[in-house]
């Protein structure tokens, strides 16, 4: 194994062929140094894995204690650092990846290097942007990926570029899968479903796909669709339409909103799409519905 190291983009030649890797480190802290870990924004998606020690961190204003095998995952709009501005004694590994596009609304384009499909990238972006718990507890499988990354990067054997790109994809997938699963225990689907419903309502103007909804609760689309159907009687998309129309009816009662405003706010593509869906279900056009109340 190599000695502890910290590689920086533009400084370390190992990263030259991987412009999207901002930092990559295997770090050991033997004594506490002032200002060694100040709270600041990450430059990309930052994933840290704790191998030894106990770390007192602050992520987005919240204190967290991290223990060995814990992983933190932060987005460019989140701040992170040591709670007292320092690194505690221990060892950890981290990597910061800069996606081509990553907006706070969840829009994510990793870049040409990634083999993750466009659909899955959208799902990952969505999950990360809605995520409120940046700590993945006891995710030991990250360690192996970090070690493989390190080996590939320093040995530079044939095919190492491909391997590294793959390993980073794998790291992202492993972390995000764990993220969506840890809060959604299969023992309590009703609770999971209620949380999903709340997330959908809070982000109703988004064009949700089944993949995104399933990803958010840590299930495959087939299992997700089956569970939703058995639990609610609806397919996921019909369930979503129900929520959209329910919210739209409330907004229709407000005179100051135009039909287009309401349509877009509740996630329909256009006022026509809204009107036809609404009419199909209720028998009224939204305009008629509004009038019928007077």
């Amino acid at each position: 194994m190599n000695n502890p190291f910290i590689l920086y983009q533009e400084k370390s030649k190992e990263l030259e062929t991987f412009p999207y890797i901002i930092e990559f480190a295997n770090h050991k802290i033997q004594n506490i140094q002032l200002h060694s870990h100040q709270i600041k924004l990450s430059e990309g998606i930052k994933i840290c894995f704790i191998t030894e020690g106990k770390f007192d961190w602050n992520i987005d204003g919240q204190p967290y204690l991290l223990y060995p095998n814990d992983t933190s995952m932060t987005c460019p709009w989140q701040t992170m650092g040591g709670n007292k501005g320092v690194f505690d004694i221990g060892s950890l590994m981290w990597i910061t990846i800069k996606p081509q596009v990553f907006e706070q609304n969840g829009e994510l384009v990793l870049g040409d290097w990634s083999g993750i499909s466009e659909t899955d990238q959208r799902v990952i972006g969505k999950i990360l942007s809605l995520n409120k718990k940046p700590i993945l507890s006891r995710l030991k499988s990250c360690q192996q990926i970090f070690q493989n990354l390190e080996t590939e990067l320093f040995a530079q054997e044939m095919g190492y570029r491909t391997r590294i790109n793959h390993l980073i994809d794998e790291l992202l997938i492993t972390a995000v899968r764990h993220l969506s699963k840890q809060d959604n225990l299969r023992r309590d689907f009703p609770q999971t479903f209620l949380k999903l419903e709340q997330t959908l309502r809070e982000n109703l103007s988004d064009p949700w796909t089944v993949e995104e909804m399933a990803g958010l609760v840590g299930l495959g689309t087939t299992a997700f669709t089956e569970k939703v159907k058995a639990f609610s009687g609806f397919s996921p998309l019909n369930y979503l339409i129900n929520i959209r129309i329910s919210e739209a009816i409330k907004l229709l009662n407000r005179e100051d909103l135009s039909l287009t405003d309401i349509a877009l706010e509740t996630g329909f593509y256009s006022s026509q799409h809204f009107s036809s869906t609404f009419k199909k279900l209720t028998g009224y056009t939204p305009r008629e519905f509004r009038k019928s109340k007077d």
């Binding site: 225990l185 299969r186 023992r187 309590d188 689907f189 479903f193 209620l194 419903e197 639990f231 609610s232 009687g233 609806f234 019909n238 129900n242 929520i243 129309i245 329910s246 919210e247 009816i249 409330k250 009662n253 009419k279 199909k280 279900l281 209720t282 028998g283 009224y284 008629e288 109340k293 007077d294």
Partner: protein, 506 residues
């Protein structure tokens, strides 16, 4: 061929069944919706979501099964859960979400009313226990804590009334739902002035009470068109789910009681007379004019076993929740009656009947070094059923019943049914219908359509398919433990109160 639809708007879902004219189920469909808890004591539902879900399920059932098979819908009969309050403005627009039965925000209002002399008369006149569940208390809470919304409210209605208002444009409430509001005189069938005064409202702010057989309301033209229903389709307003479940269990008449255990539970009897309990432990709700359903509800039914399963079930093999429950039932069946001396008080959610103590809490009692995990499983199950028995036992001081009829997802599991038979020392029957509420609504609708001449005749068509007989030895064992169960439940009231105070500080 003719058919009848029943629409049941319950706490977790709307269920729509189609019945033929002989009361047999043709098909059914459900659509669920969530309950929101913006604060721990609050339980709310989105009225638009419930309406849209109802419409959606209705439309799909019609398009997928009824219209393609050329069934003609003669009538639709409605059922719903009790006690919800939805304030609406002059245009009928909801002012916020509906407050449902499980909502406890009115604890203080209920305590206050219980200290006033008129509470005795209000209880006996309206049939509804003085409890935060009742709309009387909820409306009073709105008056005291949300004056603006209270003032803006044109009418206080239930979720059922809201759905009917949307479908027909009319504000009507059936006598059955009205009888669960705490605002309605169940003897004279009109709003009760004393209750209205306490809540600070007049009759204009409530819907017009009508018979459960009322069919004067009509589906709006637009809905006839989208749903493909004839304008002649009768809308029968129907009753509440608790009352209809009793009818659907076929127990109208003397000598019978029903036990319902779903997530919560109840023991009920049906009679032509009101049951008068001076200690105010039982409700009297109207199934129909001159038919009273009396009994006691418990908060702690299947939900408590589900809690246990979530905490202590074995999830290691990636089993689904239902499988985990079944494994636990199997474990429980390997322990003798009485759980080898381990007792459980199931009051995790406070308790309604017969204690009526919101501060009651759960407890395992009698634990010794030989008790294993399986004893906890058995004791948990027995504790839930002891609570059911404690309601039944007091109910028996008012009404004799020899036969018990079971409904609800949990009560009809073989192990549960056998324990109930043993505890009660009575014959327990399981009926042939999978959904007693829908069955009850169908029987009510078919009576209105003239298929049956009255509700007794309708109820007599319900057949039991399975019978469980009590084991005398087990019965004796349970009676010994029950004595301790009952004594503990009362004895601990001071300690319950003290621990709740500490819990509230958290």
């Amino acid at each position: 061929m003719d058919c009848l639809l029943t629409i049941d708007i319950n706490t977790s879902a709307v269920k729509i069944h189609a019945f033929d004219m002989n009361g047999r189920v043709i098909c059914w469909k459900k659509g669920s919706y969530p309950t929101f808890h913006p604060q721990p004591d609050y339980s709310e539902q989105d009225p638009e979501q419930i309406f849209i879900t109802t419409l959606f399920i209705l439309k799909n059932l019609l398009n997928e099964h009824i219209h393609p098979n050329k069934y003609k819908v003669k009538a639709i009969c409605f059922s719903s859960s009790m006690h919800s309050v939805l304030p609406v403005d002059k245009s009928g627009n909801p002012l916020g979400n509906a407050i449902i039965w499980a909502d406890n925000r009115g604890v203080k209002e209920a305590e206050l009313l219980k200290k006033l002399p008129q509470h005795v008369n209000i209880f006996h006149t309206t049939g509804t226990p003085i409890h935060p569940m009742s709309p009387l208390i909820k409306i009073t809470w709105l008056k005291n804590h949300d004056a603006e919304r209270f003032a803006q409210t044109y009418k206080f209605i239930s979720l059922k009334e809201y759905v009917i208002k949307q479908l027909t444009g009319e504000y009507v409430i059936d006598h059955s739902i009205a009888s669960s509001t705490g605002l309605f005189d169940i003897h004279k069938l009109k709003w009760h002035q004393e209750s209205l005064d306490f809540a600070g409202i007049s009759t204009e702010r409530l819907s017009e009470p009508v018979s459960v057989f009322n069919d004067s309301i009509q589906l709006k033209k637009e809905y006839c068109v989208t749903l493909g229903l004839s304008p002649k389709t009768k809308l029968i307003i129907g009753a509440s789910d608790g009352c209809l479940a009793t009818l659907g269990a076929g127990i109208i008449g003397e000598g019978k009681a029903t036990i319902t255990i779903g997530s919560s539970g109840a023991v009920r009897v049906a009679d032509k007379q009101v049951l008068r309990d001076e200690k105010q432990r039982f409700f009297n709700y109207l199934l129909a004019e001159d038919y009273y359903i009396s009994g006691g509800p418990t908060n702690n039914g299947g939900v408590v076993f589900e809690w246990f399963a979530k905490q202590f079930g074995d999830f290691s093999e990636g089993l689904e929740f239902d499988e985990i429950l079944n494994d636990l039932f199997k474990t429980a069946s390997h322990v003798k009656s009485g759980a080898d001396g381990l007792l459980f008080l199931p009051y995790l959610l406070g308790e309604r009947a017969p204690l009526w103590n919101a501060n009651a809490r759960g407890m395992y009692f009698g634990l010794n070094i030989n008790h294993e995990q399986k004893h906890f499983v058995r004791a948990t199950l027995e504790g839930i059923l002891f609570e059911i028995y404690s309601i039944g036992k007091i109910l028996e001081t008012h009404r004799n019943f020899e036969d018990v009829y079971i409904n609800g997802a949990y009560a009809s599991l073989p192990l549960w049914t056998q324990i109930l038979a043993d505890m009660f020392g009575k014959t327990v029957h399981i009926n042939d219908n999978h959904d007693s509420v829908a069955m009850g609504a169908a029987l009510m609708g078919l009576t209105k359509l003239g298929v049956y001449s009255n509700l007794e005749e309708a109820a007599a068509t319900v057949k039991s398919i399975e019978t469980y007989h009590p084991n005398t030895k087990n019965h004796e064992t349970y009676m010994k433990y029950f004595k301790i169960f009952e004594r503990l439940s009362h004895k601990l009231s001071e300690d319950f109160e003290e621990i709740v105070l500490l819990q509230q500080e958290i």
